[in-house]
Every structure is written in structure tokens, then in C-alpha cells.
Symmetry: C2
Subunit: 422 residues, 2 copies
């Protein structure tokens, strides 16, 4: 079935490049993009048109790192350093997800907020709990969020008796969880919490499962100086943090590593070589005082950089806020580097929060023909009165800085309209 | 007339100190605070009670630096450095305020947004234009915003033919403007844009007017390295930027200086000695890449620090967002200082955005008896489901990080309820 969307189309096919089509046409066949056009080709002349008028049609967002069971603690405990914050806030909060009924309520609310804010693709950490992880996947699926979810593995340095598994339990539950995943749009991803949380034996098993089942892997890397020193003590044979994953077959194409704030040139080169993607989480990095990630340098070195809200180390779920936070982090980085490094422009940060993340799921550049549509429709008419007619680029910048969920009037995910206000 | 407000009262009497009264009582007589009580004293037993239930009653915010005529460009031009941004964005936008009818629409919208976001006191820059400045004051007054507004003075280095005055015009219009100010809650403040914008002759006249009429002064100080170098070239006799104001009698008790990012110890000591207040504008400083203000150091040295949104260098009008931005700026500063300086806690940043600013207008500490009430009522029931019962301190932190105007159900300004949703 052919369907045409009309509006002001803005996408970021490549870093720093925007494709802008004023009052253009996006043609879908069964949810798959056929093309974006200035003028509607004759072939589609009789297809039904959804006209979004003067609204902007933007790419939806990909949130490549967030902790679903930390949603209840959003915006709290922000004055604590990472390891204290884990023990006094994150672990007790996650422990409550042993109750799938509790999980149902929280995850339904989270999934709804993701869609309301235009995030249609995620790579997400669940908790240790198999049942609640299925509940999370089900609620995402129901709301229209697509992507990967991981049951977390953690057999050491957690909170024994509260939030920790034995090795055998961790492996057994992981297999039970994987075997029970039957969701169309939400797929499993292996998720060792981070090196300090997983014994060598557990890591070995996870590496085996990843290989056997062809699964992607997500974890954390070089977030914080104390953590890096700890990893060094745990793995004295590894010169770099990344090698502690590599050793067990968990460092490979499409491995997703959150943070990488303190990754040096050698670690970044290992990422590039292996097709590992970094998830830059600017709000979290500043909230927990981890450091300021050298994103420009990573991009210059051709590292694959995506963005994550990292709730609840990050305090903002909306990815448009993470995009502006990434710009600000890059400006702080520039200031720290005595203004010698270029900051991220709005166009560049938007690319990182959209296409660069969508690529993880096999998507092409911007609104690429052949992709299932992931898009949001934005009504900016309630933003401050402009000082005159604004160009589409100006409206785009202003929307990225100022919008909130109330401005998002429709959300398309995997070719389906999953939310609309009209 | 006695009136009692009931709710969870949270105020910041001093830096780092919160006064929290659970389900307490705030007693008003003709808008003036009589006291805050755990239990309602017998004397007030028959007074009408407005019960805000489980909502939080917080101090309203004081925005000590913002440019009203830049509101139309909010969230635009953020990738430009300060001086380019002034010439290509700020000056042309401000020039449109030669038309008071245009001003009316923009300023009505701005004043409404300030109240909707709980900002009840401001120190604000208008444009050069006398009529539009009166319009601004009138619209603030009508919406319930109180404080100071300044017609801007600029007789050089503006945009000749577009946005610049002659010296005589600047003086004449300033006097005409001052003579025409007849507003109860919005008072005039002298506003030389910044040293590069004002000739020595104009500064001399402004110093004279300030002394004759007993007016406060607001301007900009040490925001950006290029600007500082420029000021040095303009005033080779002055070792420090601050002396270029002092020379003309504009550096005195209650002079308000925006930014002070690069003020050194000597300049900060001059602020402390003279009772000059700094306005820290964290969003603006990072957006324009000016630098990261050493706020902790200023506080340790007993400099009077307040907060400002600095729209439209800042992209966020709501002061709760400026408060979290100040926390983040202080964390970035800590990172830059290799984690040797303490960042601002939520309590401290809230103090800077409330009591520290309210002091400028003669207010006391927190909800002080004898002060006219400035407060907001916050309904946090639509925030993410907490992982259990939250303490008032946790709810407070979460509200500062996550609220938006939709959570603010009532606003009290100068003892009057100027907005309510119920």
C-alpha cells in the first residue's frame, strides 16, 4: 500500500550534512521509504497524502544506551560519584524489578515517554531479572519502540542478597531469557554490566553464547578514572580496559560500548578496527563528573559515535536534550582544549542522535529509500515568536534546542504511525 | 487580611542549607510573610487556608540577567562565537524593537512565559528604544513579574543605522525614559551595554545620572577572551576590565555584572569590596563557548553570585534549567580542575537561583518573615513513578531536574497569586 507524507523534511544523511526539502513528499510503500521528492512523481499521483502542512518531518531518535530499571530514580542522587551512586541508588532501585508487576507499571510509563519524545530505536539495559526483562520488551513492543534489550549479567561486585547472581544462575537465566524472547521489533542483546561485575568464568560463558547465537553485545567502557583503575587491578594482564572484553570474545563488530570518556588513542583504534560503536552519554558524564568525552577527536579518527540518554546517570530521557547536551559537552571540551578543537554543530549532533544510531539497526543514510520509516512530526508554532520569517534551518535549530514532547504531533516507527495527536 | 498556605515548604535560607517543613503552614498578612510553621499557631486558627495538599511550595526564581529583545532568537545561532553572534543575530533582532507594536506581542509572550516558569523577579536588558522599553515594563507589570529593566545605552560599536545611538540621543532618551517610568513593580536600572558599546563621554553622563537619581547599574564583565582584549585596547589605562566601569562611577554597591567568567582574583576582590553582584549565566557561557566560570572559587571568596538565563545567549528561559546548568557548569569546572574543586550541589544552586537573587531586591533569607511572598507551587505527580516513597529532599531534587511549566500550578509574586491552574 502506497502512502505519501507531505511536510518540511529534514534529515542528516552524513555527519554535518542536512538534507532539507521544503514542503516535500516522502513516499512509503508498506512502511518502506520509496523516496523523498520536491515534486510528487506521476506514479504516486493517486496515492493518499497525509499533509503535515508547515510542520517539520525529522528523523526520529536512536537512544543507544539507557538503563530501563533506573527510570524511577530519574533526576535523583545526582551529587554522588559513580561507584557510590551505584551502591546507594542504582542497585536498590534495580532490585525492585524482581517483581514483574512493579516492572509492568514502570516500563509502560517509560515506553510511553520514549515514544512521546520521538525515540523509536533503543539499545537498553534491563535488570538481572528474566521475567521483568520480558515485560520490558513487551511494553516497548506495545508502545512502538524497536531495538535491543539486554538482561544484565552480574555475578560479582553487585549487591549480594539484593542484586547479584551466581555464575550458574546468570548463565541459566540468560539462556532461559533468550529462549523466551518472541518479539517482533525488540530483540535480545548480551549485556555483561561491566567488567567489574562479571567473573572471568561468566565472561567466558557469555562469549560462548554470543558466538553460538550470533548475538550483539553491549557494555560500559572507560567511563571514570576510579573504574579504570579497578579494571586494571582485576585484569593485570590487560593493558587496556577494552582487552578485558576482547579476551572473552565480546569485543567484535557491533559491540556497543557506553561512555569511552577516557579511552586513549589505542583504545579508540581498537574500536575502529573491530567495528565497535561508542555511545556518548553527555548528560551522564557531567552529572556523575566522569569527564568530558573527546568526541571530535573520535570522529576525526573515524570511530563510530552514537548518543545515549543513559538514564538515570543522565537526567533527561528526550534525545533532543541529549543532542544539545552533546553540543554543550563538545563546547566544554573545546574550552578545556583552549579552544583548539572544534565543537559539534547542531547538524552534526543531530546526525549522531539519528542516522549514526539508526545505522546500528541496518538503516541507511537519513530518509534512505529501502528503509522502514522512523520519523517524527514537529509542530513548532508555539515556540517564541520569531523576529521575522525563519528559514527551515533556523526552525530546525530552534526545535532541537526548545522542543518538548508537546511539540511532537506524530511518531513513525518501523514504517507504522505509532502516535499521533491530530 | 490574613491568609494561610499549606503544603510541603522548601526554601534555601543560606548557601547549601535547605529549610524543609512537611505539610507546613505559611502565614501571609496582606501578602507579607508572617512566618512558616509546623503547626498552625492559635492566632491564625480562623484564617482561610489554601491547602496545596502534597504539592511542594518552593521559592520562586530570580533571573538576574536576560535580554528581552533577544527572545525571538531563542535557540538560534548557537554555533557562532560572541562577537559574530552579536552582529549577525542579536543586533538585527533587537533593531526590530524600534516598533512598539511588534514589541508588545513579543514582550507579552515573554512575560507570560516567565510567570509560567516561576520567575517572579528579573533584572533585564531591553533594547535602545524608549517606547518599547516602557512596553516591556508594562507587560512585565501586567503579568506579575517584578524587578528592574534597563533601556540599553550604546553609542559605538553597535550596528550604525540599525542599532546605535549618538551620545546626545542616548543621554536624552535615557532621561526621557527615566522620567516616563511609572510602574509599581518594575523599576528602571541604568544599562550601558558593555564597555565597548559606550564612549567615555556617554559613560561619564551615565555615571552622573546614576549618582543624581540613585539608580543601580547593570552591564557585562569579562565574558570572553576576545572581548577582554578589546576592552584593554579601548582603555589602556585600566589594568582590569572592572576599572572601566569604576572610572565613571558605575562600579558601586548593587552594580550587577553578567558573566565574570574570566575575572581574576583581583577583579573578584573588587566585586566583593564594592558590593557588586556577579550574574553567572551557565547556558550562555557554554553556548557561546566563553569559558567555564569558577563559581566555587567566587563563593569561597565571598563574592555575591546570582544566576541568569541570559536569553538568547542562553537557550533556556526557565530558571530551574539554569539551576541545573549551573550545577553542570560547576561539574565541568571540577573536571577541568582535575576534580580538585567541589561542584555545586542541588541545594547550593537552588540558593543561587532564589535567595541570592532575591536579596538584590531587599529580601531576606528563604521564606523570611517580613518579606512579600515570592513562591511557586509544584505538582510532581506526573513525574516518573518513584521506586518507592520519596523523601521531600528527593522530590525537591527531582523537581529541579525534571519539572517543566506544566508542573507549576500556582505562582505568587510580591504577595499576590499571579497565576494558578486550579
Amino acid at each position: 500500500m502506497i502512502r505519501v507524507l507531505r511536510g518540511n523534511l529534514i534529515s542528516a544523511p552524513r555527519l554535518g550534512k542536512l538534507d532539507v526539502v521544503e514542503r516535500g513528499y516522502l513516499v512509503l510503500e508498506d512502511g518502506v521509504i520509496q523516496g523523498v521528492f520536491d515534486k510528487l512523481p506521476e506514479t504516486f499521483a493517486t496515492a493518499p497524502v497525509t499533509d503535515y502542512g508547515e510542520q517539520l518531518i525529522l528523523q526520529s531518535f536512536a537512544d543507544m544506551h539507557l538503563h530501563a530499571p533506573q527510570y524511577p530514580m530519574l533526576g535523583m542522587g545526582m551529587d554522588l560519584p559513580l561507584l557510590d551512586w551505584l551502591n546507594t541508588y542504582a542497585f536498590p532501585t534495580e532490585a525492585r524489578f524482581s517483581d514483574p508487576d512493579y516492572a509492568r507499571g514502570v516500563y509502560r510509563s517509560l515506553a510511553g515517554e520514549l515514544i512521546a519524545n520521538g525515540t523509536t530505536r533503543v539499545c537498553m539495559f534491563s535488570s538481572l531479572h528474566t521475567e521483568s526483562t520480558w515485560v520490558l520488551m513487551e511494553e516497548l513492543e506495545r508502545a512502538g519502540v524497536t531495538g535491543y534489550v539486554g538482561k544484565v549479567n552480574m555475578d560479582r561486585n553487585g549487591a549480594p542478597g539484593l542484586l547479584q547472581e551466581s555464575r550458574s544462575e546468570s548463565v541459566r537465566e540468560t539462556i532461559r531469557w533468550l529462549d523466551g524472547c518472541r518479539f517482533e521489533h525488540v530483540k535480545p542483546i548480551l549485556t555483561p554490566r561491566f567488567t567489574p561485575s562479571c567473573s572471568n568464568e561468566l565472561m567466558t560463558e557469555l562469549g560462548r553464547i554470543a558466538a553460538q547465537r550470533g548475538l550483539f553485545v553491549q557494555s560500559h567502557l572507560s567511563e571514570n578514572r576510579d573504574e579504570i583503575a579497578w579494571v586494571r587491578r582485576l585484569h593485570p594482564d590487560c593493558g587496556h580496559y577494552w582487552e578485558t572484553y576482547d579476551k572473552f570474545g565480546l569485543w567484535k563488530d557491533h559491540t556497543l560500548m557506553a561512555h569511552c570518556v577516557h579511552s586513549d588513542e589505542a583504545e579508540r583504534a581498537a574500536m575502529r578496527r573491530s567495528g565497535v560503536a561508542a555511545v556518548h552519554c553527555p548528560n551522564s558524564n557531567v552529572n556523575i563528573c566522569s569527564g568530558v568525552c573527546p568526541v571530535r577527536q573520535m570522529l576525526d579518527e573515524d570511530v563510530w559515535v552514537t548518543l545515549g540518554s543513559d538514564i538515570a546517570g543522565g537526567d533527561q530521557l528526550p534525545m533532543y536534550r541529549v543532542i544539545t547536551a552533546a553540543i554543550r559537552a563538545s563546547k566544554n571540551r573545546s574550552i578545556m582544549d583552549k579552544w583548539t578543537t572544534d565543537f559539534l554543530t547542531v547538524e552534526e549532533a543531530y546526525y549522531l542522535g539519528t542516522t549514526s544510531g539508526h545505522r546500528y539497526f541496518g538503516a541507511g543514510e537519513g530518509f534512505a529509500a529501502g528503509d522502514r520509516l522512523h520519523a517524527i512530526v514537529v509542530d513548532d508554532s508555539d515556540l517564541p515568536p520569531g523576529g521575522g520569517p525563519l528559514s527551515l534551518i533556523q526552525r530546525f535549530e530552534r526545535v532541537i534546542y526548545l522542543m518538548s514532547s508537546r511539540n511532537i504531533t506524530a511518531v513513525w516507527s518501523d514504517g507504522r504511525c505509532v502516535a499521533k495527536k491530530m
